[in-house]
């Protein structure tokens, strides 16, 4: 059974008198452990697809099965729980809580999962250490560099051991060197069995994945295996040394 099965997914928005068809019937399936890039120019519908995959939105038509459950028909509360347990978001602009330190930011999903404080703190600590920020736990986002902030965001995405990590232009706000560091982290996570979906318009970023899906005008234009998957030069992944297999799904 695939991790994600999408069939004929359609989403349109009504804007005044006009109806915008963002997705016109997309079908695809994603297996556990895949490292996948979704590409497309702006307006292609890739953001809509990402919102649907991330359970932030529900489709007008079609089926979306996540772990065998049809997410398309879920209520708002059920969707919130699915987001909490199954999906880890990584955003372009990091989206951390500015007034909370790194530790509390990483703890946040566990709060909504209802974990007791002690366990929560331990898991958040371990996860932060795993992304190489063991010494930055009590720094606030504005005391961290861009790369470090994104690592906090990745730790937050990972802390609940989700089925999918959904990254929206994760290197978009970073310089290329820092960006490569983040991609190395994704690679390492992928090697450890995490399912990663990266939404991007940068070929550079997409080339690091194993499968590239191209969206155009609300339809899948291409779905290809990336035969020349790029690896980040050895050494960039140094920060990952000592990772424990905490988030292997």
């Amino acid at each position: 059974m695939p991790l994600i099965r999408i069939e004929n997914l359609a989403r349109h928005y009504v804007m005044g008198t006009e109806t915008v068809h963002a997705l016109r019937g997309v079908s695809l399936s994603i297996e556990r452990g895949e490292y996948l890039a979704i590409m497309g120019p702006s307006g292609s519908g890739k953001s809509t697809l990402m919102n649907l995959l991330g359970c932030l939105d529900t489709p007008n038509e079609g089926v979306y099965e996540l772990n065998g459950k049809n997410v398309a028909r879920m209520t708002d509360n059920e969707l919130a729980d699915i987001r909490n347990r199954e999906i880890g978001f990584v955003f372009q602009s990091f989206n951390l809580l500015a007034r909370s330190d790194a530790l509390h930011n990483v703890e946040l999903p566990l709060i909504y999962a209802g974990l007791p404080p002690k366990e929560r703190r331990e898991r958040a600590r371990a996860t932060l250490a795993n992304v190489g920020l063991g010494d930055r736990m009590h720094h606030r986002p504005n005391e961290l560099s861009g790369g470090q902030r994104q690592r906090v965001a990745i730790a937050r995405a990972l802390v609940n051991s989700p089925s999918i990590i959904l990254a929206d232009e994760p290197t978009g706000n970073l310089d290329s060197k820092t960006g490569v560091g983040i991609l190395a982290l994704f690679e390492e996570l992928s090697r450890r069995g995490n399912t990663i979906i990266v939404v991007t318009h940068e070929e550079e970023v997409a080339l690091h994945s194993r499968r590239v899906i191209r969206i155009r005008d609300g339809l899948i234009a291409a779905d290809e295996i990336n035969r020349e998957q790029r690896a980040v030069v050895d050494g960039a992944a140094v920060a990952l040394a000592g990772i424990t297999p905490l988030f292997i799904v």
Binding site: N51, L56, N77, A80, D81, R85, N95, R99, G114, R156
Partner: protein, 409 residues
């Protein structure tokens, strides 16, 4: 269990939010503070007076009421003439009440017959000693305790003996070293033999209630004339019979046609308090109205601040929703924040209000009180204000679209 944990978490978050906007939060809190402070201060002040009132108005014992010509408290003089036209009570009235009140446990009468200087062979006082004539049962109805010596007997009363009992303060002044019992005391030029010393009753509203001399009523009537105006006290044997005793005595007391209002004032501890309540009800009402308006304004302030806060934190709300916060969690978070703001103001208002209301104690020398019920009501109202005015902003926050709010700049 996890719901409780969630609550704790929400309160923590709310505290954080309040702390990050100190000035803004303080101004909002100030509004609530003023509203709560004003009502609690006034109510506490009234309560302080009232709690000291029961014994103050009459000095009566338990289950006792009193017939007198004038009401215990008058705040305006509109009815002055009505009271002046009332007849006085004499010994005959007391006798009649005594005979007809078959259910009563004790019937007594007192008469004030002067204020003046008292002296012993050791000392003399300022001319501010009040004097009262009292029948033997007066010790029961006014709950006077004889500390040493004895009270008045029937014989003292009937034969008009020149004996007296002294209040504790007066006794201390006239006989600083030894017991006054058996010693002579001079009051308004007449010498009395002290036969008893009364136990201390303490002061009230800054006035000593132990600075007086009492002689048998019979003696007073003989010395100062039969036309002394009396006050008549009646004591019921218990709470159950109180109302029956009261009606019986009232019937005996009335000298007017049926259907006409009583030609005397009936005073009891209850009626004094009741009268005080009705006189202060206007003040209470005014304070309640004022503080309601203040709280309404403060509530609107809270709503305003919460709406600003929700807009400002749209992105935060988006983040929380994205990582799995239910609508309910967001709602609780913001309502908790509103309640917290209003409760901080409430707690400060209650503390300051009680302190301020008790200031009156220093001026009137009465015991301060801590009205826990008022405090609880005040805090309850604050929670209500927080909930009422925090719900709409919280609802708005909870129903923001997660996708739009994540993009919000």
């Amino acid at each position: 269990m996890s719901r409780f944990r969630e609550m704790i978490e929400m309160i923590r978050m709310a505290l954080n939010a309040v702390r990050t906007h100190v000035l803004r939060s303080s101004l909002t809190i100030l509004g609530i503070f003023i509203g709560v402070f004003s009502i609690i201060a006034v109510m506490t002040g009234i309560r302080v007076l009232q709690s000291n009132l029961e014994t103050a108005m009459s000095g009566l014992g338990a289950n006792t009421f009193q017939f007198q010509r004038f009401p215990a408290i008058r705040f305006d003089d509109n009815d002055w003439e009505k009271y002046l036209r009332r007849r006085r009570f004499y010994a005959a009235d007391m006798k009649r009440v005594q005979e007809k009140s078959t259910l009563a446990q004790a019937v007594s009468a007192t008469a004030s017959f002067g204020v003046g200087e008292a002296s012993s062979k050791f000392a003399r006082t300022n001319p501010n000693i009040s004097a009262v004539g009292v029948t033997p049962d007066g010790f029961i109805t006014q709950s006077w305790t004889v500390e040493s010596g004895r009270g008045f007997s029937e014989a003292d009363d009937i034969s008009g003996r020149r004996v007296c009992v002294l209040g504790a303060d007066l006794a201390e002044k006239l006989f600083p070293l030894g017991s006054p019992v058996g010693q002579p005391v001079k009051f308004l030029g007449i010498s009395y033999n002290v036969i008893g010393l009364l136990a201390r009753r303490g002061s009230l509203f800054g006035q000593s209630r132990d600075n007086f001399i009492a002689i048998p009523l019979g003696t007073a009537l003989r010395l100062y004339g039969q036309k002394l105006s009396l006050t008549i006290q009646v004591q019921a044997p218990g709470r159950e019979t109180y109302q029956d005793v009261l009606e019986q005595a009232r019937g005996a007391m009335r000298r007017v046609e049926p259907g006409i209002e009583d030609d005397f004032e009936l005073v009891s501890n209850e009626s004094s308090v009741g009268q005080f309540r009705s006189l202060t009800s206007a003040i209470r009402l005014g304070a309640a109205a004022l503080s309601s308006i203040a709280l309404l304004a403060a509530g609107i302030g809270i709503m305003n601040i919460m709406l600003v806060s929700v807009t400002e934190r749209t992105r935060e709300i988006g983040i929380r929703r994205a990582i799995g916060a239910r609508k309910r969690s967001v709602m609780i978070q913001f309502v908790a924040e509103a309640i917290l703001l209003s409760e901080i103001g409430g707690v400060l208002g209650v503390i300051a209000g009680i302190a301020f209301g008790n200031l009156i104690c220093f001026f009137m020398q009465v015991t301060p009180i801590i009205p826990f019920d008022l405090a609880a009501i005040g805090l309850g109202i604050c929670s209500a204000v927080g909930i009422i005015f925090g719900t709409y902003p919280a609802w708005k926050a909870a129903n923001l679209d997660p996708i739009d709010s994540l993009r919000y700049e």
